[in-house]
Symmetry: C2
């Protein structure tokens, strides 16, 4: 491995840690952060760990105007034997570079990023909460920092990693959620930025989520932008259906985010010899399965919530109940197994976890 020197400045005043039994999501941050700069001609440089502190940018910095950003989400857990585990972190940095490519941001050295992340987590390891359902959420992100109002790729960037001790993403814990099928707004189009983890995808989703929330729905089910009938994602998660014993998830098509939890679930299903299909699936097919009694389970997957059971869809006037609005057996077992692997209570036969 190439040497990757990181300058470390420790904080002089450690912050108070929050009560781990009442943790929310992404509002409290650890003592330190990792920062690295990119300058055109010089590349990525000045890797440093420093006290968690505000970012200072010129008001003309491009991130404020043209949305050139990418990010990742991952989690660290501490085991009963006090080991710190990361879950498939190399996949996150790989995906970050795919996002970078789409958004015209210079790629990072993935091995160096992992070295930096490990050092940062090690330094703030006392922040990893231990209560059931809790973890240390890790947010690597890159922002365009050049002070320039022309529409072009920035010449300067910052790569930053911040970390937040978190409880469950949903306040209510693992409970089936109600989903509104979105017929007007679109999350991402073919040829757009849907498969990149970039700010604009999330900004564009807020309006539909706000309208869904007003009607009592937790999330939006996104359909394709061309025919407005094929299922893409749910909220900011990938989606799975169990229909007549077969698990179906939309195939990656360029506008769907290639979720790492999605990929892990697919591997787990294959290893259990459960029939699984990655293909186009229309809302009509789900309605039909509901009507003929073969729609057995549905759930979303993502790093923040891990697995989120779906209890009901609303599609126009049509109400689709899933498994009597209860958590399905497969959904529960996948959740237990995956979170078990992530927090070290279940043997990791997939070689996914990385010990720091």
């Amino acid at each position: 491995m190439t040497a990757f020197p990181i300058q470390v400045e420790r904080t002089r005043t450690l912050k108070d840690k929050p009560d781990i039994h009442t943790l929310g999501f992404g509002q409290v941050f650890t003592d330190h952060m990792f920062v690295m700069d990119y300058t055109e001609g010089e590349g990525w440089h000045s890797a440093r760990i420093m006290p968690y502190q505000p970012i200072t940018l010129d008001p003309s910095a491009m991130v404020f105007h043209y949305g050139q950003t990418v990010f990742e989400g991952m989690k660290a857990y501490v085991t009963a034997t006090n080991e710190v585990l990361l879950f498939r972190p190399e996949r996150n940095f790989q995906r970050l570079n795919h996002s970078n490519d789409r958004m015209c941001i210079p790629t990072i050295n993935e091995a160096h990023a992992l070295v930096a992340l490990k050092e940062l987590v090690q330094l703030d390891r006392e922040w990893i909460p231990t209560a059931p359902g809790t973890s240390l959420y890790i947010r690597p992100f890159i922002i365009a920092t050049e002070p320039y109002l022309g529409v072009a790729a920035s010449k300067n960037y910052q790569f930053i990693i911040i970390m937040s001790p978190v409880g469950s993403y949903y306040k209510e814990g693992l409970n089936p959620v109600k989903i509104l099928v979105e017929k007007q707004y679109v999350r991402a189009a073919k040829g757009g930025t849907g498969e990149a983890k970039t700010g604009g995808n999330y900004a564009s989703s807020l309006k539909a989520a706000e309208l869904a929330s007003k009607e009592g729905y937790a999330q939006t089910l996104w359909l394709d932008s061309i025919e407005n009938k094929y299922i893409e994602e749910v909220g900011s998660m990938n989606i799975f259906f169990k229909i007549n014993g077969t698990v179906i998830t939309p195939a990656l098509n360029g506008s769907i985010l290639p979720g790492i939890t999605r990929d892990s679930i697919l591997h787990m299903l294959h290893s259990q010899n459960i029939p699984v299909e990655e293909r186009r699936i229309s809302v009509d097919e789900v309605v039909e399965a509901y009507e003929n009694g073969t729609l057995e389970e549905a759930f979303g997957t993502g790093t923040a919530a891990v697995i989120s059971p779906i209890g009901e869809f609303k599609y126009g006037e049509q109400q689709i109940l899933v498994n009597n609005n209860e958590i399905g057996l497969l959904t529960q077992s996948l959740y237990d197994k995956l979170t078990g692997i992530q927090n070290g209570t279940i043997e990791d036969t997939f070689d996914w976890t990385v010990i720091i």
Copy 2:
């Protein structure tokens, strides 16, 4: 008019002004900026003009992660009689509020924003350049500032106005540009954010622009996201064609930005009794017009460039030359007339300019 108190802190050290004969675009900023904060429950507050200075935000501020931003672009001119003119500024603040609505950002008081803008321009009026083709570019923008990693609309925002003395947007001045018709990437989809002026639209355009630039093209021509055949915009401008004496521009359809320069050109054409159509127009129609000799002119419109003549399109293997790669008569006359109205050398019969 309601009172709108603005606290003013003048800079102690005026910056050196740039040479107005070698001005670029959006890289030099004036002495002051306007800032106003939004806090949930309190609304917009703390309107202030202060010395131009960096913005300091928590690394978890939502603008860095979820791209919740909107912006505007407008220009101020100084006339031969030393009056300062703005061009249809109320339309910009109206559009800003439309963008706000799409992006779940609280609307601003448009009258107050205009008061603030006038006061800011007045304070920095010495920065308005006077050489031909120059102006003071004004950039109002709003960013989500809440420190929170959940995907949701921010509870806090900043509304900021910065200003930059600018020359021509294109270094080469008013010259026909070469345009590549984009077949793979999409700028915006029906149901997406195309009609809002938000960062994500610009971030998503960078990749195609980069590829076009490598092949020697100045801009990308965007097609619709569904059939990939109807013309939407060119780069970050609206587009007009003159075919057989009639001027045609794509009708606003939800994914096209409702340009203020576009609207002004439409009014000017109507007032000159030039036949004009706002409707769907396919690339095939443009190719056919080229082949039968009726494609007379083509140009882009936008605040930064005002009018940008198009000399050539490339669509797959097809090369489409417009008016022998020379500026068309109508294009030149519209440019002369509109910039004349904007800088006060031509009588403003449309009542567009606002004197400060």
